[in-house]
């Protein structure tokens, strides 16, 4: 049973509020994966927005709620509902906050219920095929398995058609250490090492040892994404790595549980969407974050952003009037890299002491 669907393939969604039952990142993941179930078999694309009106507005509500003509009934019973494509309430999806939402088999798996409700938000009605995701009753399937039955796929493809042919994936390029134009995504110290991140790889050098190791990031931290954007070592023997609005904390070779977290938990305003570079001054235990032409300073001891920031980078580091790709501290100096150039900076006298190529660390001839 299908209705006319959305008249466009690119749809937006917004999570208006979060259930306290799950970590915020777990809710984001369950919703994203619930939508991907359908984008895998259609030309549909879903983009998350954090303000304004999205096509699919998602909320956790109880009992009678707002303008919604349907109501919830406390624990068990009705778990969620959604509205067919259209303006206003169309596409909106509500989950009953009186349920126990989980990301595994206990309680009600948010991913499974979300994927079902998004079927409605895209134009599918209930199916009487007991193996279908669009069957109305909750069935505790293995959330790791792909949940759509052929009945579901036939239904959604009868509205939107088949997925567009994906463009042939570009072969991932392998960066070369002595490429004169080499740039870095992020650089950090790590105990007695320095790590240079680039795409899916990293180089490691050890203090005063000439050899250079070249590894896949995933060989240390499989859960980390490629193309990181910033990294630094904090005073507690941990590394923090950043990508878009997320950051991960690493101790040794383990990514700590409950990560990624949002960079906004560090005190960045909502308008900041990514971090370009970060470096922690071991002496003052203050971490500088670089975003475009601005820098913030974070007090590692109080875990708060210092007042009076952001400041323009060039104001706080005279001479550094560039956008910073990566930064790290080595033997007391800050090193800012931008493109294939690197600036050695004396933070006491506040001036550039040397300008080098970014890959001078790799003993290139």
């Amino acid at each position: 049973y299908t209705l006319p669907g959305w008249r466009k393939y690119n749809l937006t969604y917004r999570i208006i509020n979060y259930t306290p039952d799950m970590a915020r990142a777990a809710v984001d993941e369950a919703i994203q994966e619930g939508l991907e179930v359908w984008s895998k078999v259609t030309p549909l694309k879903f983009t998350k927005i954090s303000k304004g009106i999205a096509d699919i507005m998602i909320a956790f509500r109880t009992r009678v709620h707002g303008r919604c003509p349907r109501y919830f009934d406390g624990p068990l019973g009705v778990l969620g509902h959604a509205f067919p494509p259209g303006p206003g309430l169309g596409g909106d999806t509500h989950f009953d906050e009186d349920e126990n939402w989980t990301k595994d088999g206990a309680g009600f798996n948010l991913f499974l219920v979300a994927a079902h409700e998004f079927g409605h938000a895209l134009g599918l009605s209930h199916s009487n095929d007991q193996t279908a995701l669009m069957f109305p009753n909750y069935v505790s399937l293995d959330p790791r398995k792909y949940p759509l039955s052929q009945d579901d796929i036939n239904g959604i493809q009868s509205i939107y058609g088949l997925p567009k042919e994906p463009a042939k994936p570009k072969e991932p390029t392998i960066p070369h250490a002595c490429d004169p134009d080499l740039t870095f995504d992020a650089i950090t110290t790590f105990r007695r090492e320095v790590m240079f991140f680039k795409g899916r790889h990293l180089w490691r050098i050890y203090y005063d040892i000439t050899d250079v190791e070249f590894e896949l990031i995933a060989s240390f931290w499989p859960s980390l994404p490629a193309d990181l954007q910033a990294a630094y070592e904090n005073p507690r023997d941990k590394i923090l790595v950043f990508k878009d609005e997320n950051f991960w904390m690493i101790r040794g070779y383990a990514v700590l549980p409950d990560y990624p977290k949002s960079i906004h938990t560090l005190g960045f305003p909502g308008r900041v969407k990514k971090i370009d570079a970060a470096v922690c001054d071991k002496t003052t235990r203050k971490t500088y974050f670089f975003v475009g032409i601005w820098c913030w300073r974070f007090d590692e001891m109080t875990q708060t952003m210092d007042k009076g920031f952001p400041q323009r980078v060039v104001k706080h580091f005279p001479g550094i009037s560039i956008r910073v790709d990566a930064a790290f501290q080595y033997k007391g100096f800050f090193f800012f890299s931008r493109g294939s150039k690197q600036f050695e900076y004396d933070i006491k006298t506040k001036n550039i002491t040397r300008i080098m190529r970014t890959n001078t660390w790799f003993q290139c001839k």
């Binding site: 919830f72 019973g77 009705v78 778990l79 969620g80 009953d96 409700e117 009487n128 109305p136 009753n137």
Partner: protein, 83 residues
């Protein structure tokens, strides 16, 4: 006097009517009829629901039918009212 407790049957019928109201448009079609508890309409709706879920179509509120009605589920109506 102690309140007369609803018999289990009455409770089950009340649950069934709420379920059929919500998911099989009993109330809309029944309108004022539901006030007079028109059994045949309720039996029809039970049959419709049993057919949808692949149960034995009896029009009677048997244990299998009740069990399905008590299973946590989606709040969108099953057929007809979606839209």
């Amino acid at each position: 006097f102690p309140l007369v407790r609803m018999t289990e049957n009455e409770e089950n019928m009340q649950l069934a009517q709420a379920y059929l109201n919500q998911f099989y448009s009993l109330e809309i079609e029944g309108n004022h009829l539901v006030q007079s508890k028109n059994r045949s309409l309720i039996d029809d709706k039970i049959r419709e629901m049993q057919a949808f879920f692949g149960l034995t179509v009896t029009g009677k509120l048997d244990s299998n039918t009740l069990e399905i009605m008590k299973t946590p589920r989606c709040g969108v109506p099953d057929v007809g009212q979606y839209g």
